[in-house]
Protein backbone atom coordinates (compact mmCIF):
# COMPACT_ATOMS: atom_id res chain seq x y z
CA UNK A 1 0.00 0.00 0.00
CA UNK A 2 1.12 3.48 -0.67
CA UNK A 3 -0.34 6.88 -1.34
CA UNK A 4 -2.24 6.64 -4.61
CA UNK A 5 -2.78 10.27 -5.48
CA UNK A 6 -0.10 12.80 -6.35
CA UNK A 7 0.40 15.98 -4.35
CA UNK A 8 2.81 18.85 -4.03
CA UNK A 9 5.07 18.84 -0.97
CA UNK A 10 5.95 22.19 0.55
CA UNK A 11 8.27 22.81 3.49
CA UNK A 12 8.06 26.44 4.59
CA UNK A 13 10.75 27.84 6.88
CA UNK A 14 8.57 30.37 8.70
CA UNK A 15 5.03 30.68 10.00
CA UNK A 16 4.51 33.53 7.52
CA UNK A 17 5.44 31.34 4.57
CA UNK A 18 3.23 28.53 5.87
CA UNK A 19 0.26 30.89 6.19
CA UNK A 20 0.85 32.16 2.67
CA UNK A 21 0.77 28.60 1.32
CA UNK A 22 -2.36 27.76 3.31
CA UNK A 23 -3.94 30.98 2.13
CA UNK A 24 -3.21 30.21 -1.50
CA UNK A 25 -4.44 26.60 -1.43
CA UNK A 26 -7.22 26.81 1.15
CA UNK A 27 -9.03 23.52 1.77
CA UNK A 28 -6.90 21.76 -0.85
CA UNK A 29 -3.91 21.96 1.51
CA UNK A 30 -3.25 19.90 4.61
CA UNK A 31 -0.72 20.67 7.32
CA UNK A 32 1.76 17.90 8.09
CA UNK A 33 3.42 17.74 11.52
CA UNK A 34 4.15 14.23 12.86
CA UNK A 35 2.10 12.54 10.17
CA UNK A 36 1.02 9.62 12.36
CA UNK A 37 -2.58 10.39 11.57
CA UNK A 38 -2.49 12.26 8.25
CA UNK A 39 -0.26 9.84 6.36
CA UNK A 40 -2.36 6.84 7.36
CA UNK A 41 -5.45 8.67 6.11
CA UNK A 42 -3.71 9.54 2.85
CA UNK A 43 -2.72 5.89 2.34
CA UNK A 44 -6.35 4.93 2.89
CA UNK A 45 -7.46 7.63 0.46
CA UNK A 46 -9.59 9.25 3.15
CA UNK A 47 -7.51 12.42 2.81
CA UNK A 48 -6.51 13.54 -0.68
CA UNK A 49 -4.88 16.95 -0.40
CA UNK A 50 -3.33 18.59 -3.46
CA UNK A 51 -0.72 20.27 -1.30
CA UNK A 52 0.93 19.01 1.86
CA UNK A 53 2.50 21.75 3.97
CA UNK A 54 5.17 20.21 6.20
CA UNK A 55 5.71 22.61 9.12
CA UNK A 56 8.72 20.75 10.55
CA UNK A 57 11.04 23.25 8.89
CA UNK A 58 9.74 26.09 11.05
CA UNK A 59 12.15 26.86 13.87
CA UNK A 60 10.91 27.30 17.42
CA UNK A 61 7.64 25.42 16.98
CA UNK A 62 9.01 22.39 18.83
CA UNK A 63 9.68 24.32 22.02
CA UNK A 64 7.97 23.81 25.34
CA UNK A 65 8.45 27.10 27.14
CA UNK A 66 7.29 29.39 29.94
CA UNK A 67 5.35 32.49 29.12
CA UNK A 68 3.85 34.82 31.75
CA UNK A 69 2.32 32.36 34.24
CA UNK A 70 1.59 29.83 31.55
CA UNK A 71 3.27 26.96 29.73
CA UNK A 72 3.23 27.01 25.95
CA UNK A 73 3.67 23.88 23.85
CA UNK A 74 4.66 24.53 20.26
CA UNK A 75 2.72 22.72 17.59
CA UNK A 76 5.67 20.46 16.81
CA UNK A 77 6.07 19.24 20.40
CA UNK A 78 5.73 15.46 20.32
CA UNK A 79 4.32 13.18 22.98
CA UNK A 80 7.89 12.11 23.77
CA UNK A 81 8.91 15.77 24.18
CA UNK A 82 6.07 16.25 26.67
CA UNK A 83 6.78 13.00 28.50
CA UNK A 84 10.45 13.86 28.93
CA UNK A 85 10.08 17.58 29.68
CA UNK A 86 11.06 18.37 33.26
CA UNK A 87 8.99 21.55 32.98
CA UNK A 88 5.85 19.56 32.13
CA UNK A 89 6.54 16.94 34.78
CA UNK A 90 6.87 19.68 37.38
CA UNK A 91 4.07 22.02 36.34
CA UNK A 92 1.58 19.73 34.61
CA UNK A 93 2.26 16.18 35.81
CA UNK A 94 -1.04 14.73 34.61
CA UNK A 95 -0.19 15.93 31.12
CA UNK A 96 3.02 13.87 31.23
CA UNK A 97 1.01 10.92 32.53
CA UNK A 98 -1.33 11.21 29.54
CA UNK A 99 1.58 11.50 27.08
CA UNK A 100 3.10 8.27 28.39
CA UNK A 101 -0.05 6.30 27.62
CA UNK A 102 -0.41 7.42 24.03
CA UNK A 103 0.19 4.63 21.52
CA UNK A 104 3.79 3.41 21.42
CA UNK A 105 7.24 4.94 21.58
CA UNK A 106 7.51 4.90 17.78
CA UNK A 107 4.33 6.94 17.46
CA UNK A 108 5.07 9.20 20.45
CA UNK A 109 8.42 10.13 18.93
CA UNK A 110 6.63 11.53 15.93
CA UNK A 111 3.04 12.38 16.81
CA UNK A 112 2.33 15.86 18.15
CA UNK A 113 -0.25 17.06 20.67
CA UNK A 114 -1.44 19.76 18.31
CA UNK A 115 -1.85 17.19 15.53
CA UNK A 116 -3.91 15.12 17.94
CA UNK A 117 -6.37 17.94 18.68
CA UNK A 118 -6.54 18.88 14.99
CA UNK A 119 -7.42 15.30 14.03
CA UNK A 120 -10.01 15.56 16.80
CA UNK A 121 -11.05 11.93 16.92
CA UNK A 122 -13.51 11.34 19.79
CA UNK A 123 -11.08 8.95 21.48
CA UNK A 124 -8.11 11.35 21.47
CA UNK A 125 -6.17 11.55 24.73
CA UNK A 126 -5.13 15.19 24.50
CA UNK A 127 -8.69 16.54 24.39
CA UNK A 128 -9.77 15.59 27.92
CA UNK A 129 -6.46 16.56 29.52
CA UNK A 130 -6.49 19.97 27.84
CA UNK A 131 -10.13 20.48 28.87
CA UNK A 132 -9.15 19.73 32.46
CA UNK A 133 -6.19 22.13 32.28
CA UNK A 134 -8.39 24.81 30.63
CA UNK A 135 -5.95 25.20 27.73
CA UNK A 136 -6.16 27.73 24.93
CA UNK A 137 -5.31 26.90 21.34
CA UNK A 138 -3.11 29.50 19.65
CA UNK A 139 -4.19 29.98 16.05
CA UNK A 140 -2.84 32.17 13.28
CA UNK A 141 -4.61 32.91 10.05
CA UNK A 142 -4.92 35.47 7.27
CA UNK A 143 -6.78 37.79 9.67
CA UNK A 144 -4.21 37.59 12.43
CA UNK A 145 -3.94 35.58 15.62
CA UNK A 146 -6.69 34.25 17.83
CA UNK A 147 -6.92 32.15 20.98
CA UNK A 148 -9.55 29.45 21.18
CA UNK A 149 -10.52 28.11 24.61
CA UNK A 150 -10.33 24.32 24.40
CA UNK A 151 -14.00 23.89 25.36
CA UNK A 152 -14.89 25.77 22.16
CA UNK A 153 -12.42 23.83 20.01
CA UNK A 154 -14.05 20.47 19.24
CA UNK A 155 -17.29 20.57 17.29
CA UNK A 156 -17.81 16.84 16.66
CA UNK A 157 -16.02 13.70 15.50
CA UNK A 158 -12.97 14.83 13.51
CA UNK A 159 -14.15 18.43 13.37
CA UNK A 160 -12.94 21.59 15.08
CA UNK A 161 -13.39 25.33 14.76
CA UNK A 162 -10.09 25.59 12.85
CA UNK A 163 -10.69 27.04 9.40
CA UNK A 164 -8.80 26.14 6.22
CA UNK A 165 -6.06 28.79 5.80
CA UNK A 166 -5.46 28.78 9.57
CA UNK A 167 -2.51 27.22 11.38
CA UNK A 168 -2.23 26.17 15.01
CA UNK A 169 0.95 27.62 16.49
CA UNK A 170 0.71 26.01 19.88
CA UNK A 171 -1.21 25.32 23.06
CA UNK A 172 -1.19 27.66 26.05
CA UNK A 173 -1.86 26.22 29.47
CA UNK A 174 -2.36 28.73 32.29
CA UNK A 175 -0.55 27.75 35.47
CA UNK A 176 -2.93 25.61 37.49
CA UNK A 177 -1.13 26.10 40.80
CA UNK A 178 -0.39 23.23 43.15
CA UNK A 179 -2.62 20.42 42.04
CA UNK A 180 -2.75 16.69 41.58
CA UNK A 181 -4.73 14.40 39.37
CA UNK A 182 -5.06 11.25 37.35
CA UNK A 183 -5.40 10.25 33.75
CA UNK A 184 -7.06 6.85 33.61
CA UNK A 185 -7.15 5.21 30.21
CA UNK A 186 -8.75 1.91 29.36
CA UNK A 187 -7.72 0.02 26.24
CA UNK A 188 -7.67 -3.56 25.03
CA UNK A 189 -3.94 -3.98 24.85
CA UNK A 190 -0.82 -1.97 25.38
CA UNK A 191 1.25 -0.55 22.58
CA UNK A 192 -1.08 1.03 20.14
CA UNK A 193 -4.72 0.73 21.04
CA UNK A 194 -6.84 3.85 21.19
CA UNK A 195 -8.81 4.59 24.33
CA UNK A 196 -11.96 2.57 24.91
CA UNK A 197 -12.66 5.24 27.48
CA UNK A 198 -10.64 7.73 29.50
CA UNK A 199 -11.24 9.78 32.63
CA UNK A 200 -9.20 12.79 33.69
CA UNK A 201 -9.54 14.25 37.18
CA UNK A 202 -7.64 17.23 38.57
CA UNK A 203 -7.83 18.37 42.18
CA UNK A 204 -6.96 22.04 42.15
CA UNK A 205 -6.14 24.51 44.91
CA UNK A 206 -9.22 25.56 46.90
CA UNK A 207 -10.93 22.20 46.42
CA UNK A 208 -11.83 22.99 42.87
CA UNK A 209 -12.23 19.82 40.82
CA UNK A 210 -11.88 19.34 37.13
CA UNK A 211 -13.25 16.34 35.29
CA UNK A 212 -13.11 15.33 31.63
CA UNK A 213 -13.90 12.25 29.58
CA UNK A 214 -12.61 10.79 26.32
CA UNK A 215 -14.06 8.20 23.97
CA UNK A 216 -17.54 8.27 25.53
CA UNK A 217 -19.14 11.04 23.44
CA UNK A 218 -18.83 12.46 19.88
CA UNK A 219 -16.01 14.66 21.19
CA UNK A 220 -13.91 14.98 24.34
CA UNK A 221 -16.15 16.37 27.06
CA UNK A 222 -15.92 18.19 30.34
CA UNK A 223 -17.80 16.72 33.31
CA UNK A 224 -19.51 19.99 34.20
CA UNK A 225 -22.19 18.57 36.48
CA UNK A 226 -19.61 16.60 38.42
CA UNK A 227 -17.34 19.63 38.68
CA UNK A 228 -20.22 21.67 40.11
CA UNK A 229 -21.20 18.94 42.56
CA UNK A 230 -17.63 18.55 43.84
CA UNK A 231 -16.76 22.25 44.03
CA UNK A 232 -15.37 23.22 47.42
CA UNK A 233 -16.03 19.81 48.90
CA UNK A 234 -13.85 17.05 50.26
CA UNK A 235 -14.43 13.59 49.00
CA UNK A 236 -16.23 11.11 51.25
CA UNK A 237 -17.90 7.80 50.50
CA UNK A 238 -21.35 9.33 50.05
CA UNK A 239 -20.14 12.04 47.70
CA UNK A 240 -18.09 9.51 45.75
CA UNK A 241 -21.20 7.40 45.12
CA UNK A 242 -23.10 10.47 43.94
CA UNK A 243 -20.31 11.42 41.55
CA UNK A 244 -20.10 7.90 40.15
CA UNK A 245 -23.86 7.86 39.56
CA UNK A 246 -23.65 11.23 37.87
CA UNK A 247 -21.22 9.93 35.20
CA UNK A 248 -24.21 8.41 33.37
CA UNK A 249 -25.61 11.94 32.85
CA UNK A 250 -22.33 13.31 31.51
CA UNK A 251 -21.51 10.76 28.85
CA UNK A 252 -23.09 9.44 25.64
CA UNK A 253 -21.07 6.36 24.67
CA UNK A 254 -21.63 4.32 21.54
CA UNK A 255 -20.79 0.75 20.53
CA UNK A 256 -17.88 0.47 18.13
CA UNK A 257 -15.06 -1.88 17.22
CA UNK A 258 -13.23 -1.30 20.50
CA UNK A 259 -16.04 -1.64 23.00
CA UNK A 260 -19.78 -1.80 23.54
CA UNK A 261 -21.78 1.12 24.84
CA UNK A 262 -22.72 -0.85 27.95
CA UNK A 263 -19.13 -1.77 28.76
CA UNK A 264 -18.03 1.84 28.40
CA UNK A 265 -20.85 3.06 30.62
CA UNK A 266 -20.00 0.49 33.27
CA UNK A 267 -16.24 0.94 33.21
CA UNK A 268 -16.41 4.73 33.27
CA UNK A 269 -17.89 4.38 36.79
CA UNK A 270 -14.99 2.20 37.90
CA UNK A 271 -12.48 4.56 36.31
CA UNK A 272 -14.15 7.62 37.84
CA UNK A 273 -13.78 6.11 41.30
CA UNK A 274 -10.12 5.27 40.76
CA UNK A 275 -9.36 8.68 39.30
CA UNK A 276 -10.95 10.47 42.27
CA UNK A 277 -9.19 8.28 44.81
CA UNK A 278 -5.91 8.64 42.94
CA UNK A 279 -6.21 12.43 42.76
CA UNK A 280 -6.87 12.70 46.50
CA UNK A 281 -3.99 10.44 47.47
CA UNK A 282 -1.59 12.11 45.06
CA UNK A 283 -2.60 15.52 46.41
CA UNK A 284 -1.61 14.23 49.84
CA UNK A 285 1.77 13.23 48.46
CA UNK A 286 0.92 9.54 48.42
CA UNK A 287 -0.68 7.36 45.81
CA UNK A 288 0.76 5.72 42.74
CA UNK A 289 3.56 7.62 41.00
CA UNK A 290 2.59 9.51 37.83
CA UNK A 291 2.68 7.20 34.84
CA UNK A 292 1.43 4.14 36.71
CA UNK A 293 -1.21 2.10 35.00
CA UNK A 294 -4.40 2.90 36.93
CA UNK A 295 -6.70 0.36 35.33
Amino acid sequence: MSIAHPFVYEKPATVGQALKLLSRHGPRARVLAGGTDLIGLMVDGAERPDVVVDIKGIKGLKDIRREKSATVLGSLATFTDVLESSLIRRKLPVMAEMAGWVASRGVRNRGTLVGNICSAVPCCDTGPILLAYRAQILVKGPRGARRVPIDKWFTGPRTTVLKPRELVIGIRIPDPGRHAGCFVKMRRYRGEDLAQASVTVLLMPGKEWRVAFGSVAPKPIQGKRIERLLKGRSLDAGLMDKVVDLTAKEIAPITDIRSTREYRAHMIRVMMRRALEGAVSRKAGKGPPYGSELI
Binding site: M1, S2, I3, A4, H5, P6, F7, V8, Y9, K11, L32, G35, T36, I39, G40, M42, V43, V52, D54, K56, I64, T80, D81, E84, S85, S86, L87, I88, G100, A103, S104, R105, G106, V107, N109, R110, R190, G191, E192
Partner: protein, 170 residues
Protein backbone atom coordinates in the same frame (compact mmCIF):
# COMPACT_ATOMS: atom_id res chain seq x y z
CA UNK B 1 12.50 15.66 -6.10
CA UNK B 2 15.94 14.63 -4.87
CA UNK B 3 16.54 13.73 -1.28
CA UNK B 4 19.75 12.82 0.50
CA UNK B 5 19.64 10.42 3.41
CA UNK B 6 22.37 8.76 5.39
CA UNK B 7 21.25 5.13 5.49
CA UNK B 8 23.29 2.98 7.86
CA UNK B 9 26.18 5.39 7.65
CA UNK B 10 26.22 5.79 3.88
CA UNK B 11 24.96 9.01 2.29
CA UNK B 12 22.64 8.34 -0.64
CA UNK B 13 20.89 10.75 -2.97
CA UNK B 14 17.78 9.50 -4.69
CA UNK B 15 14.87 10.94 -6.68
CA UNK B 16 11.50 10.38 -5.00
CA UNK B 17 7.89 11.44 -5.44
CA UNK B 18 6.26 13.35 -2.55
CA UNK B 19 3.80 10.45 -2.21
CA UNK B 20 6.55 7.83 -1.71
CA UNK B 21 6.57 6.35 1.77
CA UNK B 22 9.90 6.02 3.55
CA UNK B 23 9.48 2.26 4.00
CA UNK B 24 9.03 1.71 0.26
CA UNK B 25 12.07 3.81 -0.59
CA UNK B 26 14.23 1.98 1.97
CA UNK B 27 13.10 -1.47 0.82
CA UNK B 28 12.49 -1.14 -2.89
CA UNK B 29 14.80 1.65 -3.95
CA UNK B 30 17.70 1.43 -1.52
CA UNK B 31 17.52 -2.33 -1.13
CA UNK B 32 17.53 -2.59 2.65
CA UNK B 33 14.94 -5.22 3.45
CA UNK B 34 14.84 -5.50 7.24
CA UNK B 35 11.95 -3.04 7.84
CA UNK B 36 8.76 -4.93 7.04
CA UNK B 37 5.46 -3.66 5.73
CA UNK B 38 2.92 -4.89 8.25
CA UNK B 39 -0.28 -3.04 9.00
CA UNK B 40 0.55 0.21 7.23
CA UNK B 41 -1.18 2.18 9.99
CA UNK B 42 1.48 2.49 12.65
CA UNK B 43 -0.07 -0.24 14.78
CA UNK B 44 2.31 -3.17 14.44
CA UNK B 45 5.83 -1.73 14.52
CA UNK B 46 7.22 -4.09 11.84
CA UNK B 47 8.37 -1.09 9.76
CA UNK B 48 10.34 0.46 12.66
CA UNK B 49 13.56 2.29 11.76
CA UNK B 50 15.65 4.81 13.69
CA UNK B 51 15.35 8.34 12.32
CA UNK B 52 18.14 10.45 13.79
CA UNK B 53 18.32 7.83 16.55
CA UNK B 54 14.60 7.76 17.43
CA UNK B 55 12.33 4.82 16.65
CA UNK B 56 9.68 5.81 14.12
CA UNK B 57 7.12 4.03 11.95
CA UNK B 58 8.55 4.21 8.44
CA UNK B 59 5.10 3.44 6.98
CA UNK B 60 3.88 6.77 8.38
CA UNK B 61 6.79 8.90 7.15
CA UNK B 62 7.08 10.37 3.68
CA UNK B 63 10.46 9.76 2.10
CA UNK B 64 10.80 13.52 1.54
CA UNK B 65 10.51 14.10 5.29
CA UNK B 66 13.71 12.11 5.77
CA UNK B 67 15.71 14.45 3.56
CA UNK B 68 19.00 15.37 5.24
CA UNK B 69 18.49 12.90 8.06
CA UNK B 70 20.03 9.72 9.29
CA UNK B 71 18.24 6.37 9.03
CA UNK B 72 19.39 3.29 10.89
CA UNK B 73 18.12 -0.25 10.41
CA UNK B 74 19.25 -3.48 12.09
CA UNK B 75 21.77 -4.01 9.30
CA UNK B 76 23.85 -1.22 10.88
CA UNK B 77 23.84 -2.91 14.28
CA UNK B 78 25.36 -6.09 12.92
CA UNK B 79 28.09 -4.81 10.61
CA UNK B 80 30.58 -6.89 12.59
CA UNK B 81 28.25 -9.71 13.52
CA UNK B 82 25.23 -9.48 15.83
CA UNK B 83 25.56 -6.82 18.51
CA UNK B 84 24.94 -7.48 22.21
CA UNK B 85 21.16 -6.97 22.01
CA UNK B 86 20.90 -9.22 18.98
CA UNK B 87 23.06 -11.91 20.59
CA UNK B 88 20.83 -11.97 23.66
CA UNK B 89 17.67 -12.10 21.54
CA UNK B 90 19.14 -15.12 19.73
CA UNK B 91 20.33 -16.78 22.93
CA UNK B 92 16.89 -16.37 24.53
CA UNK B 93 15.09 -17.75 21.47
CA UNK B 94 13.09 -14.55 21.41
CA UNK B 95 11.68 -14.94 17.92
CA UNK B 96 10.06 -17.62 15.80
CA UNK B 97 8.93 -16.25 12.46
CA UNK B 98 11.12 -13.17 12.73
CA UNK B 99 8.76 -10.70 11.08
CA UNK B 100 8.76 -8.42 14.12
CA UNK B 101 12.43 -8.99 14.93
CA UNK B 102 14.01 -5.95 13.20
CA UNK B 103 11.50 -3.62 14.84
CA UNK B 104 11.82 -5.18 18.28
CA UNK B 105 15.61 -5.08 18.03
CA UNK B 106 15.64 -1.38 17.13
CA UNK B 107 13.11 -0.55 19.85
CA UNK B 108 15.35 -2.33 22.38
CA UNK B 109 18.48 -0.65 21.04
CA UNK B 110 16.88 2.81 21.26
CA UNK B 111 15.77 2.08 24.83
CA UNK B 112 19.26 1.06 25.95
CA UNK B 113 20.85 4.10 24.33
CA UNK B 114 18.66 6.47 26.34
CA UNK B 115 18.24 4.39 29.47
CA UNK B 116 21.16 2.19 30.53
CA UNK B 117 19.28 0.59 33.39
CA UNK B 118 15.63 0.12 32.42
CA UNK B 119 13.09 -1.49 34.72
CA UNK B 120 11.05 -4.41 33.45
CA UNK B 121 8.12 -2.02 33.09
CA UNK B 122 10.22 0.29 30.90
CA UNK B 123 11.40 -2.61 28.75
CA UNK B 124 7.83 -3.81 28.24
CA UNK B 125 6.68 -0.29 27.36
CA UNK B 126 9.56 0.15 24.88
CA UNK B 127 8.63 -2.97 22.89
CA UNK B 128 4.86 -2.74 23.42
CA UNK B 129 4.41 -1.08 20.04
CA UNK B 130 6.10 -3.96 18.23
CA UNK B 131 3.57 -6.73 17.92
CA UNK B 132 4.93 -10.27 18.17
CA UNK B 133 2.30 -12.90 17.49
CA UNK B 134 4.51 -16.00 17.79
CA UNK B 135 6.62 -16.24 20.86
CA UNK B 136 5.35 -13.76 23.36
CA UNK B 137 7.30 -11.11 25.14
CA UNK B 138 8.86 -12.95 28.06
CA UNK B 139 12.00 -13.98 26.18
CA UNK B 140 12.29 -10.55 24.56
CA UNK B 141 12.14 -8.82 27.94
CA UNK B 142 14.66 -11.27 29.38
CA UNK B 143 17.03 -10.69 26.46
CA UNK B 144 16.84 -6.90 26.76
CA UNK B 145 17.38 -7.07 30.50
CA UNK B 146 20.48 -9.25 30.06
CA UNK B 147 21.83 -7.07 27.27
CA UNK B 148 21.36 -3.99 29.44
CA UNK B 149 23.25 -5.63 32.27
CA UNK B 150 26.17 -6.67 30.09
CA UNK B 151 26.28 -3.25 28.42
CA UNK B 152 26.41 -1.56 31.83
CA UNK B 153 29.19 -3.89 32.93
CA UNK B 154 31.15 -3.12 29.80
CA UNK B 155 30.59 0.63 30.17
CA UNK B 156 31.50 0.41 33.87
CA UNK B 157 34.95 -0.83 32.98
CA UNK B 158 35.56 2.37 31.03
CA UNK B 159 33.57 4.86 33.05
CA UNK B 160 30.81 5.11 35.60
CA UNK B 161 27.50 4.02 34.12
CA UNK B 162 25.24 6.77 32.97
CA UNK B 163 21.82 6.62 34.49
CA UNK B 164 18.40 7.76 33.51
CA UNK B 165 16.76 9.21 30.52
CA UNK B 166 17.87 10.95 27.42
CA UNK B 167 18.53 14.67 27.93
CA UNK B 168 15.31 16.20 29.16
CA UNK B 169 14.08 19.04 27.04
CA UNK B 170 12.14 21.85 28.58
Amino acid sequence: MNITVKLNGIAQTIAVEPSDLLIDVIRDRLGVKSPKYGCGKGDCGACTVLLDGDVVRSCLVLAVEADGREITTVEALSMEGPNDVQRELIRNNAFQCGFCAPGVTLAAEELLRRNADPTEEEIREAVAGNLCRCTGYQQIVEAVRTAARSRRKKAGRKRRPRSGRKGVKS
